[in-house]
């Protein structure tokens, strides 16, 4: 890591997309960026602990707010960068079919099996999934059948190995995983918007940080993000 590098603390699920964006930025004459991928929670606490991060990209709004409340994010630098969808997946050899709507028979689809999803209190995808199921009125019928995973990738694994007959994961993960098929897409209004916010840390002394955040909102970046299945929320600059 060179000294002038922009240090980006990003949610781990962004790795593929962000690596591509970083490469592109450098190729287009920007500086190099060094990304540290981990859980949003850990990254936020590290920034709180004085980490040398210039940019923070969180997987949900909560941890960004956590830092902003502590005045650790530069005022006005915060941008709602990316969006995502949550989907219901099943192992690829599954015959399950679902029409996701209010009061759909999720419990019946599960049978004896369990519904894999991220931790409903801790993992963003889990939180969105729970909200959606509540909104659709099926939470009560499946609450006892949830298998909460450490992160959304682990939930995906539970489905792809056939451990769980169904799971709720991000669309980005589901499309890229050959072991699962998408059974249904949750309506966007069934849960709070899925947002990946970005912000420059208050402690950043790197002049390129702002430029980097700006580049994340560029057309090229948009193309790269969308290639990984994200929706880009921020208007192209």
């Amino acid at each position: 890591r060179a000294d002038g590098d922009v240090v980006v603390f990003a949610a781990a699920s962004l790795k593929n997309a962000l690596d591509a964006v970083d490469t592109a930025w450098k190729a287009e004459g920007g500086k190099s960026a060094t990304a540290s991928y981990a859980a949003s929670s850990a990254l936020a606490k590290q920034i709180e602990g004085g980490a040398p991060a210039d940019v923070f990209i969180s997987a949900d709004l909560d941890w960004m707010k956590y830092l902003a409340d502590k005045k650790l994010i530069k005022d006005g630098s915060e941008v709602k960068l990316l969006g995502n969808r949550i989907v219901l997946v099943a192992p690829k050899d599954s015959a399950a079919k679902a029409d996701i709507a209010a009061n759909f028979d999720l419990a019946g689809l599960l049978g004896e099996g369990r519904l894999a999803m991220g931790d409903v209190k801790a993992v963003p995808a889990g939180k969105y999934g729970k909200a959606a199921l509540e909104k659709l009125g099926v939470w009560g019928s499946v609450e006892g059948k949830i298998a909460q995973a450490e992160n959304v990738r682990a939930a995906l694994k539970l489905v792809s190995t056939g451990e769980a007959p169904l799971g709720i994961v991000y669309q980005t993960d589901a499309t890229a995983e050959p072991g699962v098929k998408i059974v249904g897409l949750f309506p966007e209004d069934s849960h709070p918007p899925i947002v990946y916010p970005v912000g420059v840390t208050a402690g950043s002394k790197n002049a390129d940080a702002e430029a980097y955040v700006k580049y994340l909102q560029s057309a090229k970046a948009k193309e790269l993000f969308e290639a990984q299945g994200f929706t880009v929320l921020a208007p192209v600059q």
Binding site: A39, S41, A44, D62, W63, K65, Y66, R114, A116, D119, K121, A122, V123, I146, A147, Q148, A149, E150, A154, A155, K157, L158, T161, G162, E163
Partner: protein, 231 residues
């Protein structure tokens, strides 16, 4: 501090249960493998040694995935055990115990092995001349002499189970009342802003349980030690 939610109480109970089972169930294997590694001379010993150490070397998440692949519902071992013995690990507390047992296994084996290697083999041959068959020699001489190592291995395994989280949650997920152990519950708290107090509370409970286990093991170990050498 102790006004826990029912789920948290469940996590405490489950953690103790999982820890004890992980410790107890891995003990015979731990002793057997330690014996094999300490005494055996066979092809593939290095390999066995390597495999035993794997859970230490691999990131816990990887161990969890590997468990999922082999002991899961569709995994070769998992489906075999299910079909012929009716043993199911996936999403059960038994799976958590399996994960903890495996994560603690290298620690247990190493402790027991160290003790076995320190045994004065002349005592074993003395027992042999008195008519004890190798099995009896093991039970009446070797085993009592390696008790310090066995106790150390057990406490390490239990303590590890109290802290194990990565492999467990990956393998059997985090189902309150079924597979949500203390570390999983703590993890959940650490992942939400403002969860620090809850995490701290559960952490202290976890520490308290481990402390009690430690103290008990130390008392036990001291007894053994006094018996073995008060010279």
């Amino acid at each position: 501090m102790l006004d826990l939610t029912p789920d948290e109480w469940n996590a405490v109970r489950l953690s103790i249960k999982v820890g004890l089972w992980a410790m107890a169930a891995s003990l015979p294997f731990g002793i057997a493998i330690a014996l094999l590694l300490a005494r055996g001379k066979f092809w593939g010993k290095s390999l066995l040694n390597g495999v035993v150490h794997l859970p230490l070397v691999l990131p816990p998440v990887v161990t969890g995935y590997l468990l999922l692949l082999s002991f899961g519902r569709r995994g070769p071992i998992g489906s075999f055990l299910d079909e012929y013995f009716g043993i199911v690990f996936s999403f059960r507390w038994t799976g958590a115990a399996l994960a903890c047992a495996i994560m603690g296994f290298p620690l247990m084996v190493r402790a027991i092995r160290l003790s076995i290697e320190a045994v004065d083999r002349r005592l074993e041959s003395a027992a042999g001349t008195l008519g004890a068959s190798p099995l009896w020699v093991f039970l009446t001489v070797t085993l009592p002499l390696i008790l310090p190592g066995v106790v150390a291995g057990m406490i390490l395994s239990f303590a590890k189970a109290m802290g194990e989280f990565g492999a467990t949650i990956t393998f059997v997920s985090n189902i309150p009342g079924e597979t949500q152990t203390l570390p999983s519950a703590i993890y959940t708290f650490t992942q939400v802003p403002g969860g620090d107090a809850g995490a701290m509370r559960l952490t202290l409970i976890s520490i308290a349980i481990s402390m009690i286990a430690l103290v008990v093991s130390e008392i036990f170990a001291r007894r053994i030690g006094q018996r073995l050498d008060a010279g």
